[in-house]
């Protein structure tokens, strides 16, 4: 079935949010979400890298891996593409825009190990997306991730001063907030359904 890329884009942001329904990118999600500014920086970097790498990995998968019949190497190839792209972006930004580098650059190394990036590429292959669908899915997932981390950072700043039971402070509390957010996002599931 051919899905409109726009529908995939919307669905990736709301109904099948990469973080809240597929649990990808949790590590940096929990550790960076202390402040809104840094969350925004990381989120933007994720949107950018995710969109481009989903396009790159699409090309690599369909024009190199499939013709050569080496699909079993996809994990290694995908991770190399992602790491190389992140490294390249970091170098380019550092060279041409020091200001952007200071706001965004420090987050780039974190992204190679963000499992959401690799996850998007793998989902794209499993679901047999076309090129446009893949880009829409990558961009949508990135935006969905940005939305989730911004929301968590906002809430965490609000509850920072409040009393919480000792064992729950920190990661436990963030997870509960995320759980409630995930519950709220379930409410979006009426909009569009994919998969």
């Amino acid at each position: 079935m051919e899905l409109n890329p726009l529908i995939i884009f919307i669905a990736a942001i709301f109904t099948s949010n990469i973080l809240l329904t597929n649990f990808l990118g949790m590590c940096s999600f929990l550790s960076v979400s202390k402040e809104v500014e840094s969350s925004l920086g990381l989120g933007m970097a994720v949107v950018f890298v995710m969109t481009i790498t989903s396009a790159l990995n699409y090309a690599v998968y369909h024009f190199i891996l499939v013709p050569l019949d080496i699909i079993y190497l996809q994990y290694i190839i995908f991770i190399i593409v992602i790491a190389a792209f992140v490294q390249l972006t970091e170098m380019i930004i550092e060279r041409f825009s020091p200001i952007l580098y200071y706001s965004l650059g420090i987050f780039l190394p974190l992204i190679t190990v963000n499992c959401a990036i690799l996850g998007v590429s793998l989902f794209m292959v499993i679901r047999n997306y076309t090129f446009l669908q893949s880009i829409a899915y990558g961009a949508g997932s990135g935006l969905g991730w940005l939305l989730a981390i911004l929301a968590l950072a906002g809430i965490r700043q609000k509850v920072k001063e409040k009393y919480v039971p000792a064992g729950l402070a920190g990661a436990g509390l963030s997870l509960i907030i995320t759980g409630i957010m995930a519950l709220a996002f379930v409410g979006f599931s009426g909009i569009v359904v994919i998969q």
Partner: protein
């Protein structure tokens, strides 16, 4: 350090999931069924043990600058073995786990152990440390999966344990409950002892 000590430390006292909050992506994603969690856990133990061994073995020959890249490639090679093994022998489970087998590569626990332990210790110690961290991880997965499967499906490992009277809690099958369960587990374990007693 003695071998047993290394194992206990990395499996429980310094458990990656509840002490360092690492590797929780997959801990959340596969825990709606016990079987999936067990297979995932075994895959992670295998990858952790062998990548720890390999990285420790060649740690003096890895150039510092590209260390992360080399480690990732070693980890990815073992993950491919796990993936191919599952596809060949257990196609059903492989399908259910979907991309999460591949995502073992970016599981922060493995990179974390490689950086924190295998880079400094002997190959066999690293292997034991890897198995320990993997067992600790599997333990967390199984605890969460136990609760989610029994409430969500009324089964354990696919066997019916609750009678027909049991109303399935569909929330337990859905995503939010995974967050809540992990939060509760972390809460219980991190609560200081004197508050409990």
């Amino acid at each position: 350090m003695k071998k047993k000590e290394i194992f206990i430390t990395s499996a429980f006292t310094e458990n990656s999931v509840w002490r360092q909050i690492l590797g929780i992506c997959s801990a959340l994603a596969v825990t709606n069924l016990m079987m999936n969690s067990l297979v995932m856990g075994l895959g992670v133990i295998f990858t952790l043990a062998l990548s720890g061994f390999t990285i420790s073995l060649i740690r003096d020959y890895i150039p510092k600058r590209i260390r992360m890249m080399v480690q990732t490639l070693i980890i990815a090679s073992y993950v491919i073995i796990v993936d191919l093994f599952l596809r060949a022998n257990y196609p059903e489970i492989s399908k259910a786990l979907g991309p999460y087998v591949g995502l073992i590569i970016t599981n922060c626990i493995i990179m974390g152990r490689a950086e924190a332990f295998a880079g400094k210790n002997s190959p066999f110690d690293s292997m034991i440390d890897g198995i320990g961290a993997g067992v600790g991880y599997t333990f967390v997965l199984l605890v969460i999966a136990f609760v989610r499967e029994i409430f969500g499906f009324g089964t354990l490992f696919g066997f019916q344990v609750m009678g027909d009277w049991w109303t399935k809690w569909s929330i337990m099958v859905m995503a939010p409950s995974a967050f809540f369960m992990l939060a509760i587990l972390i809460w219980i374990i991190n609560t200081p002892k004197k508050q409990v007693g």
